[in-house]
Symmetry: C2
Subunit: 331 residues, 2 copies
């Protein structure tokens, strides 16, 4: 399935990206690296110019690390990215449209209403990058709502390949299949939800972790440094390679045995979780001060580079280990 979508054999090859912020730039690079013709839209011309400068810098870093997932040269990839301040020019004839405007329901609805009126192929994919708004709330008013879904990447998308695809109740399965195949062509790892739910998978897991983490810190069971260390020097060692059920499965004699040994304990612990609340008040102020000690707000960019260096090294490591695994277990 995916092979038939290879860019060089596709009759139509145009990708429309709405919004040239962090996520919009990432989508532009991902598609351009696979030879798609990207048309990047934003309202302000200057914003597009600085986006292109940043794209070049990011691509250079990616090529330097050998993480470009592309047989094209850097110059060729750049040649696949055009910009426009005219929405219609961005969208007309595009086979896939990825909207990346700020996380505001009314703004997104309005942008999609405009996109909906432009001529696109019947099998176009309409995708929004929202991290938490369910797709039905963004697409009920669209003529082409059967082609609409959420395509929410992990951050940063070039170093963290997972993408959530979330259909609305009226989304055609064929639209999801097409989006999934496109994600695979550009080297992302799509996961498909069967139906929509607040927060999808990623933000639900994050919200669950924050829920207990906030209790532990705000009620003074641990300081924030210890809480963070429990993840980065403990649980994170698993999650870099495995999900939560697989961890349970192999930490006992299988999942059934794990449930038998620890099921009641896990339920008991869950029963001690508090009611959800906003993180505010003196505990939130203290937490902010402690986080600022680690990473002052004026050094967030340095910390992002620190993170990117590590995530790119992890990605390289995982590729190498998977290659080794293939050699050990020929199929």
């Amino acid at each position: 399935m995916a092979d038939t979508l290879q860019a060089d054999t596709a009759t139509m090859n145009k990708i429309g990206i709405i919004g040239s912020g962090l996520i919009g730039k990432s989508w532009a690079m991902l598609f351009a690296c696979s030879g798609y013709d990207v048309m990047l839209y934003d309202v302000i011309s200057d914003q597009l110019q600085s986006a292109l400068v940043d794209i070049e810098a990011q691509l250079s870093a990616l090529y330097k690390e050998g993480l470009q997932r592309s047989s094209l040269t850097l110059a060729e990839v750049k040649g696949h990215i055009c910009t426009t301040t005219i929405l219609e020019e961005c969208v007309t004839g595009a086979i896939y449209i990825q909207e990346c405007v700020p996380e505001n329901r009314d703004l997104k609805r309005d942008v999609w209403r405009q996109i909906d009126d432009v001529i696109t192929p019947d099998d176009v994919v309409f995708a929004t990058s929202t991290s938490a708004i369910v797709p039905s709330l963004l697409s009920d008013h669209l003529k082409k709502r059967h082609r609409f879904m959420v395509a929410h990447p992990a951050n940063p998308p070039l170093l963290n390949p997972m993408v959530e695809l979330v259909p609305a109740p009226w989304t055609e399965p064929a639209a999801v299949d097409r989006a999934r195949a496109l994600m695979e062509v550009i080297g992302q790892v799509p996961i498909v939800l069967n139906k929509e739910i607040d927060g999808f998978v990623q933000a639900r897991i994050q919200a669950a972790i924050i829920h207990v983490a906030w209790q532990l810190v705000s009620e003074d069971y641990v300081d924030v440094e210890s809480l963070e260390t429990a993840m980065s020097e403990g649980l994170g060692g698993w999650y870099a390679f495995m999900g939560p059920f697989d961890v349970k499965h192999i930490n006992a004699n299988g999942f059934v045995d794990s449930n038998k040994k620890y099921g009641a304990m896990v339920e008991q612990v869950q029963k001690t979780f508090p009611k959800p609340e906003l993180m505010q008040g003196p505990a939130a102020e203290k937490l902010t001060r402690d986080l600022e000690q680690w990473t002052p707000s004026n050094r967030l960019a340095d910390r992002c580079r620190w993170r990117d260096r590590r995530m790119s090294a992890l990605l390289q490591l995982k590729r190498k280990l998977d290659e080794e695994g293939k050699r050990e277990e020929p199929k």
Copy 2:
């Protein structure tokens, strides 16, 4: 503080380990690698013999990977581990006692009652490896309960350095300080809770993730493979290096900005979490079948080796990156 505990300068150097299962063996290796004299106890002599065989195999693998955290040779480390089937011999005069018997409250209480009667230094540390039983429930009956705490490692302890230290209400701060310093000497990364809570930090975070993961899978929002992939190809890329608050802090313009932008969304998602329940019924059976497809129960050991290969590579990678970081930012 930690330096004064270096094994070669300590006047007393004996570590008592109760139980020679997976965790007991790991503690034995960790202490022996730092030159402590470990006395490993179990009720059955054959069990101790096979524990020694396995310890040798694990140490060999560790030395091969260069992950031994020790200036001693493999033979020297082995020379620091003795075994006994007499509890009193294991415990007498030990500066630190780590109990690793199965996760059963009555069993643990009984073992500790016996340990409590043996002569040990005044500043001994009494530590239990439980993953979820709060220390007050295991130590209220002990004469030396002021020296008692949980010391719960991540798994596998030699590749995943975090250790939770959890005091009971009656535990002296000096006992926790001593345990923390010892953990640092043997190269583990201790985190200290200020007071006890069900599941401590590790099992609470795991229970929180399983809580939402079970809902997503049992209510058919996603299949288990997608759920696992969301962690291993998405969120896990962060958690290998950072905790949940740091992630929020740098994914926005600091924690305050993150709260402002996403706080209400996070709370809304948390409000959709279901009541805790045991994982059972047809959904649990399907989940088991799906997990078995990945890793059949008769191949769990292979999967553990797969995991260990990856965790040891990640540990090496993190050391290398930290070294690079130190060169870049001399202090």
